[in-house]
């Protein structure tokens, strides 16, 4: 007979058995038994003490997205559990595997409005892949194994385990068996041969095909298969925001980013293509614009592991339900070699206009205050286009994702679906911990940084080497842009009075400097990248700078503003 251990210890042992060696968390009353046992396992399970539970979830997201393994969070009940809501919702929208463990009052107190009791399962069910309350110690190994299986198979997502305090204290005989099967859950469906054939027929008949590469390509590790597929049939590849870096920026067939602030070619050609091959993406409204005017001329082939995405936003002509890598492997032999040089040229024509009308004045300005675009461009270049880009949300996100160039996969980490301001700082901490060998550059704004600025304390405590580029315009810039363009420049509640960010960074022991002028920028970037450890650049940005091109919300995908006064014209 095995020795009986407490539920709290069983939890730790099960986490270790699942291959976890790093958790993000914050202790509290209803989770103390777990923290007590953790004390004995710190050699096997490193705990990162964040400064706010929201930070723990975003850090775990950052970790999960660079490693491909679930990020693990441990927090207490009540307010701690409600503080993880934003991260859970963000992780569900962006298909990020998380296992979030919340403490809960003892089961005898459930439903009594006990101190720090909240209905965690009830609250989190709509924003998790699975949420489960554990009321008995002996259920812990089973539930933990199941949680990891669910979080990181199929379309990944967040899972919550809400563990009552008496289950943490109760005794059980521990043994851990990995979960590999749940009869009501089919994470990797068998790929249907007829669906492959139908899709291949459409693709082989295409004259102007284009690929929309999404986050799913990254999650399934299908970058090589994507390139092989595109190269064989000479098909241009475009990427969603979360699909950036699924193909290197300098690849002959890579034609840029889709979406509201994407590149002109991908957006214009959406409505000129005859076949759209969407892989691991979900036709978000920031990609489609007005769905009634989205690619009416094109046949849509949709490849996704989540069949509920088919026909959800855009009506498809063919679908293949399965893992992107497996599907592309099977599709490749069915695809005929082709050549589409005329069609490919149309992307380059759009790129030329974009360069003249947008990029030149954004990135290569010689006068006036600095722009976000030029800072992103220079930082990317200085890292040899090799860094992991972490962004916050808003103009900083759009500028940095547009002007960064990507060499390696898994090189962008951003809150796409939920658009969570404050995501970036903790996510960059998790990213660096998950990929310590890579340079992590975090672009943020003065608004978003202050939403989770307390995590500078986490950087201080663990000496996390995150490069923070604060694009500071003393404005909530993206809202300001909409106010200028669509609300008669009525800047309601968007100007911000800011603290001395360098002093704040310094107070946390983080090296930092102000970058006031363009002339200072190159040297400052070099100092930041050469510095061992975290570094912050507080860059003075022109507040009137706006992110273009722009497809206004609700407009057609090919209705593109080049600046405040000029629209892109199709020749």
């Amino acid at each position: 007979m095995n020795e009986r251990i407490t539920g709290a210890e069983a939890l730790i042992k099960s986490l270790i058995a699942e291959g976890v060696n790093l958790v993000f968390g914050y202790p509290g009353g209803a989770i103390i038994p777990v923290y007590d046992k953790l004390y004995d396992y710190t050699d096997q399970l490193k705990h990162i003490l964040v400064r706010h539970e929201q930070g723990a979830t975003h850090a775990a997201q950052g970790y999960a997205r660079v490693t491909g393994r679930p990020g693990v969070v441990i927090v207490t009940s009540g307010p701690a559990a409600t503080n993880v809501i934003t991260g859970l919702s963000d992780a569900l929208m962006d298909s990020t595997p998380l296992v979030v463990i919340t403490g809960q009052v003892a089961s005898s107190f459930l439903g009594s409005d006990a101190f720090q009791e909240t209905d965690v399962v009830g609250i989190t069910q709509p924003i998790t892949k699975w949420a489960y309350q554990i009321r008995r110690a002996e259920d812990i190994p089973w539930a933990v194994a199941r949680a990891f299986y669910i979080a990181n198979t199929g379309r990944p997502g967040p899972v919550v385990l809400d563990i009552a305090k008496d289950a943490q204290n109760g005794l059980l005989e521990w043994s851990h068996q990995k979960c590999t099967y749940i009869r009501s859950y089919i994470p990797y469906p068998k790929i249907n041969d007829e669906d492959l054939k139908a899709a291949a027929d459409i693709i082989n008949a295409a004259k102007r095909p284009m690929i929309l590469s999404g986050h799913g390509v990254m999650i399934s590790g299908a970058e090589k298969e994507l390139a092989a597929f595109a190269e064989k049939a000479d098909i241009p590849v475009t990427a969603t925001l979360l699909g950036l870096s699924t193909m290197p920026s300098d690849h002959r067939l890579y034609k840029g980013m889709l979406g509201m602030h994407g590149n002109i070619g991908p957006n214009i050609n959406t409505n000129r293509s005859d076949v759209i091959i969407a892989i691991g993406m979900r036709f978000d409204d920031r990609v489609t614009g007005d769905t009634s005017k989205y690619a009416p001329q094109a046949k849509i082939v949709h490849i996704d592991i989540d069949s509920s995405e088919f026909d959800k936003n855009i009506k498809t002509d063919a679908t293949i339900h399965g893992d992107a890598r497996e599907v592309l492997e099977k599709l490749l032999p069915l695809i005929n070699p082709a050549e589409h040089s005329e069609w490919l040229k149309t992307f380059d024509e759009c790129a030329k206009v974009e360069r003249e009308k947008v990029i030149e004045r954004e990135v290569f300005r010689t006068e006036g205050t600095m722009t976000m675009g030029e800072v992103a461009h220079k930082v990317s270049k200085a890292t040899g286009d090799k860094a992991v880009l972490v962004t916050d949300v808003g103009q900083n996100q759009m500028f940095s994702s547009r002007y960064f160039r990507y060499t390696d996969p898994k090189s962008i980490l951003t809150s796409g679906g939920l658009g969570t301001m404050g995501f970036g700082l903790p996510a960059s901490i998790g990213a660096k911990m998950g990929a310590p060998e890579r340079t992590v550059c975090f672009f943020t704004g003065d608004g978003g940084l202050q939403m989770t600025i307390q995590e500078l304390g986490t950087i201080m405590e663990y000496g996390t080497d995150v490069k923070i580029i604060l694009l500071n315009n003393n404005f909530l810039g993206n809202v300001r842009q909409w106010q200028e363009l669509f609300f008669n420049s009525r800047f309601s509640q968007t100007p911000m009075v800011n603290p001395d960010f360098v002093a704040i960074a310094n107070a946390y022991g983080i090296a930092a400097e102000n970058v006031e002028t363009r002339e200072q920028l190159d040297d400052a970037i070099a100092r930041m990248l050469n510095h061992k450890g975290a570094y912050m650049l507080n860059v003075n940005i022109d507040p009137t700078d706006m992110i273009f091109p722009m497809t206004p919300a609700g407009a057609a995908v090919d209705d593109i503003m080049l600046n405040a006064n000029e629209k892109f014209q199709i020749n």
């Binding site: 399962v121 009830g122 069910q125 709509p126 892949k129 699975w130 949420a131 309350q133 669910i150 590999t180 099967y181 749940i182 009869r183 009501s184 859950y185 089919i186 990797y188 068998k190 989540d306 069949s307 509920s308 026909d311 959800k312």
Partner: protein, 182 residues
Amino acid sequence: MEKQLFTVTVFSENQVGLLNQISIIYTRRCLNIESLSVSPSSIEGIHKFTITTWSDRVTMEKVVKQIEKRIDVLKSFLYTDDEIVYQEIALYKVPTEQLLNEKNLEGIIRRHNARILEITKEYTVIEKSGHNDETEALFEELKNYDIRQFVRSGRVAITKSTQEYVTMFLEEQARRRAEGLI
């Protein structure tokens, strides 16, 4: 798109919180659940939900996919009335004295194919099962006798198909597992 009454059936594991997981999928899309019934199914350990909603097909197809996406849901199906045999049950409580004054009580009970469950000095409970319009018709008629309480169950439904899809699903899962495919 034109609205019609759809019946969704859901087969799930018997887990706490399943009903909430399903109902929030309706809530989020501003869909009113017209009727709901939940009970253990013929397969041990598996629960069956029958949910009716006025909506359009495109919306309901998305709803069914979202329901099926929940981890503990085995299968979910969408039906229109012509694809199923369905029934509801209604109970009517009427003051006995009023009923006794009715000369044609027998006629009402016969015409509606209803039956009397209980008679006391104060009240009589009548039961009628059928489609919504049928239980409604009896309600309209009994209104004259001062209905004190009325209750109607959610719909229960059985498909007209000869195949039992959930059983097939379970068999297929078991077979694939036995063959080491999953």
